[in-house]
């Protein structure tokens, strides 16, 4: 089975986000970047599928020069090769531009299964997975929390919906977007980290991939982030004193009469 895993490098969920002077991007200095947490579930699902069926995992990342770190992490986990997409022509792509670039590589790799996270925790668009599926004319299932293969071309999947789950039968090739609960991502072993250094990591240009640069990057973007702002500060609250019974009596009074939320 040929498996493509699409990953993004994002600031860690524990990172404080500082805004850059341009008012529309973040200042990456001193910020810890990690593989997008939901992509880790996708990566683990790929490793399990390869363990079952054999084959090859190609991990594909779109981003700045730093994306190599995230790709090396995935190689250390057991991906066989990596593709870093960091041609300047790709910068400023919107979701559809990103999906055009990624789907070109998935097609070149003739992947049978495409896995990615349900969303990236930076821009939270949750768009790329279904868009890649559409551009490749693959079916997709988003927010997958359980995955079972009946054979190499059919899978039973469970996706999360409000207050429950939906079950689907999906025929490969397909795009699946992973959520928490799908599996327990493994950690890279020292041996894997050593081996990762010798695995292929290529950085093809737009021209190498035959991508029409008028369809990607800033100029083609139909949506743009125009401002980023910190959320408004919350006004200082009050600490309620007393023994537990007094605290509770005061709190209920405040909730009822002051905050009017009961």
């Amino acid at each position: 089975m040929k498996i493509a895993v699409l990953i993004k490098q994002v600031p860690s969920s524990e990172a404080r986000i500082r805004l850059a002077a341009d008012g529309r991007s973040i200042d990456p200095a001193d910020t810890e970047f990690v593989v997008n947490p939901y992509d880790e579930f996708a990566m683990e699902a790929a490793l399990q599928a390869k363990e079952k069926f054999g084959g090859e995992i190609v991990v594909i990342g779109l981003g700045s020069a730093k994306v190599d770190e995230a790709l090396r992490t995935c190689l250390a986990l057991g991906a066989d090769k990596a593709v870093a997409l960091k041609d300047d022509a790709f910068l400023g792509s919107d979701s559809l531009g990103a999906a055009r670039i990624l789907s070109t590589v998935v097609k070149r790799e003739s992947a049978d299964l495409v896995l990615c996270g349900k969303l990236a925790i930076d821009f939270e668009n949750a768009a790329v997975g279904p868009m890649v599926a559409e551009l490749l004319d693959f079916p997709h299932v988003s927010v997958v929390s359980a995955l079972e293969f009946s054979d190499e071309t059919h899978a039973t999947v469970t996706r999360e919906i409000e207050g429950g789950t939906e079950s689907l039968e999906v025929q490969l090739p397909a795009v699946l977007t992973a959520t928490k609960g799908l599996n327990e991502p493994r950690y890279a072993a020292l041996k894997g980290i050593m081996m990762a250094k010798k695995k292929p990591l290529e950085s093809p240009s737009a021209a190498d991939l035959g991508i029409d640069v008028s369809l990607v990057g800033t100029a083609a973007a139909l949506t743009t982030i125009t401002t980023l702002e910190p959320p408004p500060e919350r006004a200082a609250g009050q600490v309620i004193d007393g023994d537990p019974a007094e605290m509770v009596a005061k709190l209920v009074g405040y909730l009822k009469d002051e905050a009017k939320v009961l």
């Binding site: 524990e14 973040i26 279904p130 928490k180 949506t223 009050q238």
Partner: protein, 320 residues
């Protein structure tokens, strides 16, 4: 300039999702005199169609047994049929499991701009401007679309008031079969719960590590029951396996904004705070007076949750 709007009419089992009426309301604002259309595919949609036309929408219904479940390929084919019929400038979906699933696929099919999880969307010149949260609530963003470009957007439930009464129309739209149906929905299973959904709840009671053990989450459940509240949790206790992951509030869980948020034994990791800081009123109960949660709380109770929460439950039971 008048714009043509298409709203995706989300329903399950014939029950219209409440937020679709909010999309019709938002659509009327954006339409500037243009038409607000709703595409409504399903297996049993008569009542939903009535509800939408009474809100002033031009409803395009396709009723067919094959549309009982929202298989993406089948539903996208039907939405595409509506797009061909009305040529919308904007297509609106609710930011729900179904809307999030279908909207990006439709945007790619149309070659349209895409923005998701909008808290607000308005016309800006010949384009649109959307407000949304990014980085798990740590940043507020404005996203604008290119002038003249078509736009597909998902809108957070509750972001707009529902449409008022109006007189619309209902007309059938022919069934358009997808070229292939390779992802088939075989069934739904709902988790038995009398608690509301985390994202839609007006009140949330949330628990964390300070509860000390999985069985003590019962304290949170008991209080939530009195308040008719949804259940939330910190990442720490989700990762520890005390509660299911769909309880998780924060950047790698659900970002919430209820009227009242009660945090019990939650110290307040940055990703948790970002995910709930827009709540109307925040109450924190924690024994550590230095816990970061107190920096965002309107009312802080420093003390033992095992003493305070049962008393709070009793007092609240008297007033709600």
């Amino acid at each position: 300039m008048a714009k043509t709007i298409l709203v995706f009419g989300e329903q399950r089992g014939g029950a219209l999702k409440k937020s679709v009426l909010e999309l019709v309301g938002l659509g009327s604002d954006l339409a500037d005199g243009g038409t607000v259309n709703v595409v409504l595919p399903g297996a049993s949609i008569g009542a939903a169609a009535e509800q939408l036309s009474s809100a002033g929408a031009a409803v395009h219904t396709t009723e067919d047994a094959s549309l009982e479940y929202a298989a993406p390929e089948a539903y996208c084919a039907q939405i595409e049929a509506a797009i061909e019929a009305v040529s919308p400038d904007v297509v609106l979906f609710s930011a729900t499991a179904m809307g999030r699933d279908l909207a990006p696929r439709i945007a790619a099919r149309m070659g349209a701009g895409f923005v998701s999880e909008c808290l607000a969307l308005e016309s800006a010149g010949d384009g649109f401007a959307a407000k949304k949260s990014m980085y798990g609530g740590k940043v507020n963003a404005t996203v604008t679309s290119k002038p003249g470009a078509k736009l597909v957007a998902t809108i957070k439930p509750g972001a707009h008031a529902p449409a008022g009464a109006g007189s619309g129309t209902v007309a059938p739209l022919a069934l358009k079969s997808p070229a292939a149906l390779r992802a088939k929905v075989t069934g739904l299973s709902t988790v038995e719960s009398d608690r509301p959904d985390l994202q839609e709840a007006g009140t949330i009671v949330s628990g964390g590590r300070g509860l000390k053990a999985a069985e003590n989450f019962q304290l949170v459940e008991d209080l939530a029951k009195v308040l008719g509240a949804a259940l939330g949790a910190s990442r720490a206790i989700v990762d520890a396996g005390w509660v299911p992951h769909h309880y998780q509030v924060g950047q790698t869980g659900t970002t919430v904004s209820p009227k009242l948020y009660i945090a019990i034994g939650i110290s307040g990791a940055i990703q948790h705070l970002a995910g709930m800081r827009t709540s109307g009123c925040i109450v924190a109960i924690n024994k550590d007076s230095e816990a970061p949660i107190f920096k965002v709380a309107d009312f802080g109770l420093v003390g033992d949750a095992f003493e305070i929460v049962p008393l709070l439950k009793e007092e609240l039971a008297k007033v709600v």
